[in-house]
């Protein structure tokens, strides 16, 4: 059973169509990476899966219901998305921002409940950002800031979490740290995670499933060791390379030829 899947999905902006007739089923309780060259439609697909883009044709289904027919609020209780470059008002504190992630679970008049408190606490603890709660977001380092945004998405407490290039702007250490965090979340709570990633080596190392896209279509899909091949990298990225095996984890590593 796949809770999130798309059938015959076509997506686009204004007068350009980016994705045509795409079928995809997101594996439950697994980490999926969407990879591909720039402008191949990765982010567009993610936005379509999160209901931020209306399908031109076809449909996205969440728990068997058409996403387009569900209310924004009902979707937000089950599925969260962290945009590529989220914006925050000047001076906002970490506690304030993470607290705003509770929105879909609060009513017009309902005050802060114990459940909100618990969710925010768990989100801060999981992302190791608890000691930052009184700090303004803009004063933090790039790595800390990204962890805080993930904390906000976690406070939303959804079963499915989509992340658009969460490792961009981070140094290698922070990239690994963030992906370890996603692994931990997946292992502890069985969260289904889909992330657009640029680094094939990290995607292969930390994700269960890889979706490779080219020209708005899925060209390969499966476990990293099957998908990341010299032919695929040549085809998708136009890079001739040799694939070696990661001495630590045994996952594929792309080495430019």
């Amino acid at each position: 059973m796949n809770r999130l899947r798309a059938e015959g999905l076509s997506l686009g902006y204004d007068d350009t169509t980016v994705i045509t007739g795409l079928d995809v089923a997101v594996l439950d309780q697994r980490i999926t990476a969407i990879v591909g060259a720039n402008a191949c439609g990765k982010s567009t697909l993610l936005r379509g899966l999160a209901r931020l883009l209306k399908p031109r044709q076809g449909a996205v289904h969440l728990d068997g219901k058409a996403l387009a027919s569900m209310s924004t609020l009902d979707v937000a209780k089950v599925l969260g998305l962290l945009p590529q470059t989220p914006i925050a008002p000047d001076g906002i504190t970490v506690a304030d921002l993470v607290g705003r992630g509770r929105y879909p679970h609060q009513g017009w008049f309902r005050r802060w409940t114990d459940r909100d408190h618990e969710a925010v606490t768990r989100a801060l603890a999981a992302t190791d950002t608890a000691d930052l709660i009184d700090r303004p977001l803009h004063g933090l380092s790039g790595g800390q800031r990204q962890r805080v945004w993930v904390a906000m998405a976690l406070a939303q407490d959804t079963d499915l979490l989509l992340l658009d290039e969460p490792t961009t702007y981070l140094d290698i250490n922070h990239q690994v740290e963030l992906l370890r965090l996603l692994r931990k979340l997946n292992a502890e709570s069985g969260k289904t995670i889909v992330a657009v990633l640029h680094d094939l080596n990290l995607a292969g190392r930390f994700c269960d499933h890889i979706i490779a896209m080219d020209g708005g279509a899925i060209v390969a899909e499966g476990p990293p060791s099957e998908v990341i091949t010299a032919e695929l990298v040549e085809k998708v990225f136009g890079l001739s390379c040799v694939i070696v095996t990661d001495p630590v984890a045994g996952t594929p590593i792309v080495v430019p030829a």
Binding site: G91, W108, A130
Partner: protein, 346 residues
């Protein structure tokens, strides 16, 4: 850190914030109440606070006192209070929605639109009272729609909206000059007086309309604050968190435009209160808290003070708009200087 330490830290932070909100909001309410009473105490002859409050609550039965307090001074004081509340709410909604401290309705052409429509009504069609309010509302709505169409493409990118707004405002101001140049002397004087902005000029009808509008729209604005706080994180984030972005934005803009138009209709375009109320409230409550209620109270306190200064402290009584302008202009310069340095204006 263990989970319980984190839980504790979250509690402490939240409690501290709640305390601050309660203290600041309570403090602002008292300041506004005191200013409201003081406004009615001073004048050609002085009254004590007891007399003013007694007359307001009906506990002192003295027809001559009632005449001065309820007949002469209450309308002005009530106008200053309600217009101040309205400008504060409207300004802070615009600023947060457009994510720019410069985006107050006076700067993005909404006030000018209301002014142009009202002046055209006064000069060309010789309308008065309620009809002026209707024209102002129409003008503000048209200006807001114009801004939306011209500047809103996939959300708002800070400076483009402000620049287009300044252009639209200049265009409207030019048209106001043109309309005035076609006017007869009497209507021109009427319109000029209206344009300077003064809390003393509101008629009973306009005041009641504004009061009625606030009773409905202020609570609505406070309720919509939850959506506003997510919209300022960007449309994608807001939608992923469950806000219907277009609907919430339309509701917030509509509320802000109507409140502003009613205020402009009552007192004319009073500058800078809408610009500074929100940032002052944020300074008091902590950055980015964006409380609509606190901004409204700051607006009321500012306008009541400006009116006291304009009418009683200066050697000759001036329209309120002159005083708010004189105080607001340095703030604007300061804001421009610092936002440019931080690079956060757009």
């Amino acid at each position: 850190m263990t989970l319980s330490t984190v839980a504790n830290a979250v509690s402490v932070t939240r409690r501290r914030r709640t305390t601050r909100v309660v203290v600041v909001t309570g403090g602002l309410t008292s300041v506004v109440a005191v200013l409201f009473v003081v406004t009615m105490m001073v004048g050609s002859f002085r009254l004590s606070a007891g007399e003013v409050i007694g007359s307001l609550l009906g506990t002192i039965d003295d027809p001559s006192l009632d005449f001065v307090v309820l007949g002469l001074r209450l309308p002005t004081a009530a106008t200053a209070l309600t217009v101040g509340l309205a400008l504060g709410v409207s300004g802070t909604i615009f600023q947060h929605l457009l994510r720019n401290p410069l985006a107050s309705p006076d700067f993005v052409g909404i006030s000018s639109g209301a002014g142009l429509a009202a002046v055209s009504g006064i000069v060309l069609l010789k309308v008065t009272g309620l009809a002026v309010a209707g024209f102002a509302l129409g003008g503000a709505t048209v200006a807001a729609l114009l801004m939306y169409v011209l500047a809103w493409r996939d959300g708002v990118s800070g400076y483009r909206f402000i620049l287009i707004g300044i252009g639209v405002a200049a265009f409207f101001d030019g048209l106001i000059g043109f309309v005035l140049s076609r006017a007869q002397l009497y209507e021109a004087r009427q319109a000029m007086h209206w344009l300077t902005g003064s809390v003393g000029q509101a008629s009973g009808t306009e005041l009641r309309l504004l009061l009625g509008g606030l009773v409905v729209l202020l609570p609505l604005a406070v309720l919509l604050q939850r959506q506003l706080r997510l919209l300022e994180l960007g449309d994608d984030t807001a939608r992923s968190l469950g806000v219907s972005a277009e609907l919430a934005r339309a509701a917030l803009l509509g509320t802000a435009v109507i409140i502003l138009a009613l205020a402009v209709a009552a007192a004319g375009p009073i500058l800078f209160v809408a610009l500074v109320a929100g940032p002052i409230a944020n300074r008091l409550l902590g950055p980015a808290t964006g409380s609509v209620l606190a901004a409204a109270l700051v607006g009321a306190a500012l306008l009541l003070t400006a009116d006291l200064v304009a009418v009683h402290l200066l050697p000759t009584a001036l329209p309120t708009g002159v005083v708010t302008g004189a105080v607001g202009a340095p703030y604007l310069l300061c804001l421009l200087a610092t936002t440019n340095r931080q690079g956060t204006g757009g």
